[in-house]
Symmetry: C2
Subunit: 496 residues, 2 copies
């Protein structure tokens, strides 16, 4: 048995992921507009090669041999073999031509979605979105013929998750959040006009880099760019991480909190054990745990009173002359204002999960065949009215706002809400060991990051999400802790 082959296989896989990841990253950051067809051709070849590598007879034999010698492998190696075999089983059930065609479809869909969003033209995107949902259903049935297709994808993004768990989780959130939102809506809302001022891209870039350093990112291993929709990606391994943001020329807090959010993802990825690089254990284990980190940095830390105290003078420094009359208390209230709105990524902490719930409901019904993709905009708008009480003026601010579906991710959205809830419970545990507020007030993220690194980041994908939660929490996951956290925040902001 040649263990080295296990590592060689993963290095080769990482290389293809690196190449395809960079081509996709380039597409949304740097590439000229007319190059999609060129890229599509290259990605078709690379995804075919990568598919062959992952499913080829050499790989099948290697994994079988390793599986029959479990006792000679380390725990880490057994987990690698498990994860690789799981992917292999999935891929080998999807016909290669369909897999490659789907990758090509996603490249086209991304370009079409960008244009459709710009023009608020859902009709032009509809045929692509129909194909994406249809392919997701078909692939799920190839892989797990006896499983509900949406359950299949929920479990892909968050091992162990299914509709039943989501339904319960969202029902609890909904029943407790809606009264809070109503109470807040009845009060005079804090003014966030005080955050509005013209800011240049160059200023926001300088502030973004400052924030990256502040939260403890190593800029030698984490790059920074701008895109329509902010995201984080690892290229090849956690040694080359990239985050992006989007600038709003009128409100610096959009890019500020998106940088801290993506920074949380990047901290998690780059916190993997060095020796996990170029293996399937590298980087975060699931979307839920990933969002627990990104939303932890963005909200639980980034919008806390203690961090507001620290960052406030720097805001005045990075945007000189524009916030002379602003005081720290008004800033804190403004960034925590509760107000039902249209755009998920700009939503406040309290209403955020309602945005997620809309998407969850819609995906679930489409995957169950209870809703047609062409009826999405109308249903989207209806649910926004029902859950958030807002009227959606156009699809640009509605159903076309997110890049997830155009990117092929169906079943991803619930992890945002789940992750937010994990994060609140992590914080409760962290406070037993770390004086978080004292650290934040000094802008000292080291003790916070050290705790996260030790408990969460270093493990990469070694533990399942459930194992990791058990290990970190030492108790059951309890969404009530998240609701309590939100209630406390409302008290701080509104006194209710």
């Amino acid at each position: 048995m040649d263990k080295q082959k296990l590592y060689d296989l993963q290095t080769r896989m990482s290389a293809y992921e690196h190449a395809m990841g960079l081509i996709s990253y380039d597409a949304v950051t740097t590439a000229p507009k007319g190059t999609a067809s060129n890229r599509e051709r290259t990605l078709a070849v690379l995804s075919e090669e990568s598919y062959k590598l992952s499913t080829g007879s050499e790989t099948v034999e290697l994994l079988e041999e390793l599986s029959s010698h479990k006792d000679e492998l380390t725990d880490e190696e057994n987990r690698m073999v498990y994860l690789l075999s799981k992917d292999l089983q999935m891929l080998s059930k999807i016909p290669m031509e369909e897999y490659v065609a789907y990758q090509q479809l996603l490249v086209q869909a991304d370009a079409v979605w960008h244009e459709a969003k710009e023009k608020s033209d859902f009709a032009s995107f509809l045929p692509y979105l129909e194909k994406i949902f249809e392919t997701n259903k078909r692939f799920a049935l190839y892989c797990a013929p006896d499983k509900d297709p949406y359950d299949f994808w929920l479990n892909e993004y968050e091992e162990g998750l299914d509709k039943k768990t989501c339904d319960e989780f969202f029902a609890e959130l909904k029943s407790r959040l809606i009264p809070i939102v109503k109470k807040a809506a009845a009060l005079p809302e804090p003014d966030d006009g005080c955050l509005i001022a013209p800011v240049t891209d160059a200023e926001q870039e300088a502030f973004s880099r400052f924030l990256m350093k502040t939260i403890g990112l190593d800029l030698d291993h984490c790059g920074f760019g701008t895109t329509e929709h902010p995201f984080t990606t690892s290229l090849g391994s956690h040694l080359d991480e990239r985050i992006t943001t989007h600038y709003n020329g009128e409100n610096f807090t959009y890019s500020m909190f998106s940088v801290i959010h993506e920074g949380g993802h990047a901290l998690y990825d780059t916190g993997s054990k060095e020796e996990y690089a170029f293996t399937v254990l590298d980087g975060g284990v699931s979307m839920g745990i990933h969002e627990s980190q990104s939303r932890f940095y963005e909200n639980i830390l980034g919008r806390s009173r203690a961090f507001s105290k620290y960052i406030f003078p720097y805001i005045k420094q990075f945007y000189p002359g524009r916030f002379d009359d602003l005081n720290e208390e008004d800033y804190f209230k403004a960034i925590n204002r509760v107000k039902p709105s249209l755009i998920r990524t700009e939503a406040d902490e309290v209403t955020y999960c309602l945005h997620v719930m809309v998407r969850y409901e819609l995906e679930k019904r489409i995957m169950a065949g209870e809703l047609e993709v062409r009826d999405l905009p109308a249903e989207w708008n209806r649910l926004y009215k029902e859950y958030l009480g807002v009227d959606v003026p156009n699809d640009r601010c509605g159903v076309l706002q997110d890049s997830h579906w155009s990117g092929g991710a169906v079943g991803y959205f619930p992890s945002y809400a789940l992750g937010s809830a994990y994060g609140a419970q992590f914080m409760k545990k962290m406070r037993l060991d770390v004086d978080v507020d004292a650290c934040l007030a000094k802008g000292d993220f080291k003790p916070i990051n050290d705790w996260n690194r030790e408990k969460i980041w270093q493990h990469g994908s070694f533990y399942t999400p459930k194992q990791l939660l058990d290990k970190v929490l030492g108790e059951n996951f309890d969404p009530a802790i998240y609701v309590e956290y939100l209630e406390k925040k409302c008290k701080e902001v509104y006194g209710i």
Copy 2:
């Protein structure tokens, strides 16, 4: 015989080139500083895969079969088979491990060179450069054991070129250029202080994009970035071209002429016949012809009196308030000032070839074993004194200035001088068909580009450089035409 396989093979090869090209492009434009080792690992895998594809038994058999059915192939297909077979023969003579190791060495060397240049520290770069020269010698001997190694590489960059031809070419240039340079140096030199003024990166970027559009580049297929050393690259095919430039905050003409230079490369590449995309016929045929286009746009067009007339008002417009007192005549004289200097890329047209000659002499002697790599800085400085009369204050402005050697390109430099000379002869022909000055004075590049497209660009790599020259010129290549062009320019600037 399955012709389709010929096209499939080339599509696959283009995909690997796209991926590796983008990883290299990203490395110098966007990637965080500490990611070289990550990239190296991926490039090692991809170059190994690409090597296997190019030299695998399937490819060998395909090319053999096609070669034995020449009459069933089009002329284009026969040229593809010839070029692919030539590469195959070369690659199959280089042991794969050595080929892959060399690719890895180049990734490291690039990072080390950047740092060495910054610190003017030749010693840290020396071991890499020694290995690069040594590998170039070894690879040349693998491929052509009976050929002089430097002749081998000259021929690689410019089919048909050898030391003998270069020696004659440079001897003629030297004998005729040095008197001109001396005459010019004896006269009061035109003042280029009038071009010096603080300019921002943002202004230079806006002007660069304006220039790209002016010379006729399609910005939907040609991207733009900034790097330490400007260059041009095609990613996958001519449908995704990228050029870069470097900003000098004191002198806008550096980026101005580098954009026009790289723009010339990009026009040539993107002018290939559409159906050549994803084949080996795509893009320029040789470095000499490539430089004939880049230096044609940069100098013969870009520094002409007619184009100066057109562009002058735009300079005032893009850099408001800084050139109010400048007049067109002084601008024209300043951008054509003849003055021996240290940096090749900033050299004037007349002294430029002397910079190239220094590099040619040094490469030639190292490859012949007559000079040690460690003695390069001293010899570099000695030759700069001898040919150009200037003292080199440090290696940053000396032997470390160019990226070619760190990128593995030995035998490339002569093509710059050769290309300049080709360009002058092309212009003589073009003037028979096109009123070039009238076009330039209006900023109308269409007739010029149409001529180049028809005569040169569209053919991609279909003709050899020699065939192409014969076709375009209808007469022998004659470097005297280039010298006459330079003499005429000196008359315009100095009246001598």
